[in-house]
Symmetry: C2
Subunit: 120 residues, 2 copies
């Protein structure tokens, strides 16, 4: 469980889906947006993720009921991923962490510098 929550890609996918990808047309009404994203969108957005990890992580999140996978049988196939309520609530938690990270990143970096020079 802890392993799942503290997975790098889990965190990033949640963030991506929760913050709603930039897939909207200019001027479109995004209120109440379900914030769904395509497979390829995620692949592009999460720079550095391999197909393997993306698929793997997506599957585990679906299994855990944090996201839904919806395939519409167009040609070629279209697949949309979306946060469930559960996933959304987790995302809210994560946002708190993210905020903390952004606020205190400087402190941490400063501490590292101090610590390192004291050693060197």
């Amino acid at each position: 469980m802890l392993d799942r929550l503290s997975d790098k890609w889990v965190t990033l996918i949640l963030a991506a889906l929760g913050s709603g990808g930039g897939s909207h047309q200019p001027g479109a009404d995004c209120s109440g947006e379900p914030r769904s994203m395509r497979y390829s969108q995620l692949l592009r957005l999460l720079v550095g993720v391999s197909q393997k990890m993306l698929t793997q992580t997506l599957r585990s999140l679906e299994r855990d009921g944090l996201i839904t996978r919806t395939a519409t049988p167009t040609v070629p196939v279209t697949v949309a991923y979306e946060l469930t309520d559960l996933g959304l609530s987790l995302h809210e938690m994560m946002r708190g962490l993210k905020t903390w990270a952004e606020e205190h990143m400087d402190d941490v970096l400063a501490n590292r510098e101090t610590h390192d020079t004291r050693v060197a």
Copy 2:
């Protein structure tokens, strides 16, 4: 940064230090407790951690200014680890996550079961 925050042992050490180890004498006054813990205490408390990982994690946390290391030159040496204010604030964040995990663990497990049987 993300990697650091989403490290298993980081999370657990923070939890251990933040929740104050059970190192108190019965009836001792624990209010305003600095919640410090010894190396060996952590080693015992965090079941499954190797000396290597404990030391490594402790060092990185110290470097980031999240914990302090205090060695008192008794014989044998006594070393106490303690959360800094920064570390404490992170711990608070983590508690939120922990709470979420405890509240929704059941849902996740249920979803897994449903999902698995549907596949099988």
